[in-house]
Amino acid sequence: MNGEPDPASAEFARRTRELLEASAASLPARTRSRLTRARYAALGQHAAGRAAGGRALWQRWLPAGAVSAAVLVMLLLLGGPPPPPQQASVTGAAGGDDLELLADHDALALAQDQGADANGVDYEFYAWAVGAAQEEAGNSGAGVGT
């Protein structure tokens, strides 16, 4: 068996094919009618199935869309929770203090005085004052001596 039939087999196959095709072409009218009805029944089912599938698609999403829209409407109508009033007044007070501090130069200098410790004693100031006094005294002594 090499896949290619011998000429006699090929001729036999051709004649059987012609015979079968002739029989299929000359089917009785009743049989042809029943085949046509079967075809239409199958196609009708196909069309019904596709239509049902299409309806199911948007019918499936329509309730979800309606629920989402209703939730949006409710949120828009009722509004969000109002901000706490205390937080607004505190923020306003803090803002006012900052403005007053910036406008007052003395207050700003005091606020920027970072040398004082927790008891209010500014050791750097006193160290500077002592140094300045000694330097002044030294300058005076030298001037007297000379």
Binding site: A8, S9, R39, A42, A69, L72
Partner: protein, 207 residues
């Protein structure tokens, strides 16, 4: 409220467009399917009739095959329909043969329905020769066709399927292999053996 209006407008605007696309797609598919089924239905009926030797059973098998193809495989590429359809048809033929076997066994256990058990699935009126005078060529062709159908029916199912799909329906080896659920080599083997058997049995009509 604007958000709701936008959402609603988008939704209602989407539906008609999708509906039109779906309608066009459905019509196109239906036309392709109708053309395919119209092309194969007569040969499919003859293949089922040769296997089942009964017109009504063959029509039922073809209708079942059409319905199953449309229901499960309508969305597949059109070039796959023929192998799928003939595979489904062969399954329908086998189902019918199994039902006949089971029914025959059940009926054989029920002696009071012996008449139904003995019922010949083929209609004797359809098998009877037409008494009207016919030209000699038609008589010879009719005899040759009857002999061919009998020889085909006597073949093993796989050989008959390979021979009819290849020689009658005109499927190539690959498509026949897909329809039969076997390899291309098996198709060639089944076809070759069927051809040899038929030639040995029917040589007198052609040689």
């Amino acid at each position: 409220m604007n958000t709701f209006a936008t959402l609603l407008a988008g939704t209602t605007g989407l539906l008609p467009h999708r509906g039109m696309h779906l309608l066009e797609s459905t019509q196109h598919d239906a036309r392709s399917l109708e053309s395919f089924l119209a092309t194969v239905e007569r040969k499919a009926f003859r293949i089922a009739q040769i296997a089942l030797r009964h017109e009504d059973d063959a029509l039922d098998a073809v209708q079942d095959a059409m319905l199953r193809l449309v229901r499960h495989y309508a969305t597949r590429p059109a070039e796959e329909w023929a192998p799928l359809f003939y595979r489904i048809l062969e399954n329908c033929v086998r189902d019918t043969q199994r039902r006949r076997t089971v029914r025959g066994r059940v009926m054989s256990w029920l002696p009071w329905v012996g008449r139904a058990a003995d019922e010949d699935p083929s209609d004797p009126l359809e098998q009877a020769p037409d008494p009207a005078p016919q030209p000699e060529a038609r008589v010879q062709a009719g005899e040759a066709l009857q002999a061919l159908e009998a020889a085909l029916a006597a073949l093993p199912a796989r050989q008959r399927q390979a021979f009819l799909l290849r020689n009658f329906e005109g499927l190539d080896v690959e498509a026949t292999a897909r329809a039969m659920g076997c390899s291309a080599g098996s198709v060639k083997t089944h076809y070759f053996r069927a051809l040899q058997t038929l030639r040995a049995q029917l040589g007198e009509y052609w040689e």
